[in-house]
Point group: C2
Chain length 228, copies 2
């Protein structure tokens, strides 16, 4: 339960609803797993049946780990997420999970407007409940997408800047006697390939240019046998 609350909070959700929860709950384990997400458990709602729990919901997405009767029109959470988020703009939506051991009952599945099946390997397809919650809520969170990876500190280097760097390396190869003159063009092609595998930022190029220049400088200026 604690891991479920934490997964919900990781994905920006806060309304936990329990149907007929077990009256015993290991409070120590709960706190240890929920950590900062404990308020989600404290603010939970409880109902006696799935039907009452989802009464005001504009979509009722039920997860099922097994094939079979009435379950052959399932979609993956990734497929269903955009439509669910669209509905959520107008009405609450319910994502319903069965119990860890038994899953959803067939008589509960009839209330589903969306049937979800999480892709997993046929050797062992049964997924831990809190991890199933994480996978589904993460798909919803990815659709909302109020998340951005850290920005690079500088923009991608432009062509001119890249060429200045390559010029420095061409010179450095010469200055440090890296190879015979007639092979330098070939070596530079190799270096170009290495340094264009990914997009370099201006900061990246500054480092690489500084390195080439320093190599040239060292070849000309450091005394022979210098150990520093």
């Amino acid at each position: 339960m604690g891991a479920i609350c934490r997964a919900m909070k990781n994905c920006g959700l806060d309304q936990l609803v329990l149907v007929n929860p077990s009256p015993t709950m290991d409070q120590i384990e709960l706190r240890k797993m929920a950590l900062k997400a404990l308020p989600i458990y404290k603010q939970r709602k409880e109902f006696d049946s799935v039907e009452e729990a989802v009464a005001d919901c504009g979509a009722v997405a039920m997860t099922s780990g097994v094939d079979g009767f009435y379950r052959d029109h399932a979609s993956t959470p990734r497929q269903a997420a955009p439509e669910l988020i669209e509905i959520a703009a107008q009405k609450p939506i319910a994502i319903v999970f069965g119990s860890e051991d038994k899953g959803m009952k067939t008589e509960e599945l009839k209330f589903a407007t969306h049937l979800l099946r999480i892709p997993s390997h046929h050797d062992y397809s049964s997924i831990n409940l809190s991890q199933a919650v994480m996978l589904v809520t993460h798909e919803l969170y990815q659709v909302i997408g109020d998340f951005s990876l850290g920005d690079e500190k500088t923009p991608p280097a432009d062509h001119r800047f890249m060429e200045r760097m390559f010029d420095c390396w061409d010179l450095a190869m010469k200055d440090i006697h890296f190879c015979q003159d007639e092979k330098r063009e070939h070596m530079m092609m190799g270096l170009r390939r290495v340094l264009t595998r990914g997009t370099l930022t201006e900061n990246d190029v500054k480092i690489m240019m500084g390195l080439a220049r320093q190599a040239s400088w060292a070849a000309k200026n450091l005394p022979e046998g210098d150990q520093k």
Copy 2:
């Protein structure tokens, strides 16, 4: 640890590698959480350092939950997964997770060829370790995609079959005196909208057609005041 093993097996992975694992491991908890994935723990490899653990890997993807120094070129697991799977065809790849409490150390991050950051909500972005493992391995599994949702038992109904069904409903509306004749076309447009919200299979259409026909039959054949 058990939940990690289970997540790996759910996603078709089997090689668990531990770096300096804690010498104490709650075996009961391990078995309870790993269930059928226990062999993954038993077949684990152990190393003294991350560097040794990843030595033979063609890609080293490290996960980091925090922004900061040397971490601003991260991608999401979803973005990185296709490239990682491509590399995995030629060399083993490593997906490296830090410890539950401390995450990856900066001095370990330098070995990363890919830096991963899992999208999560800024209110509480720190993700449970076993769930982080599940999210990343699930992205890899989705790329491989050796998973298919159950097939519908019958193909989508074709246009002709759909129109036969609508004809039956048009007649049924008339037979059961659903509305005034001049409003029937309007009502049929509403019914068409409802029944084309999702693709209907041939089985779906058979049910809906049978229902319409039976309504017509009942209106004409059942005695007035019949209670059955």
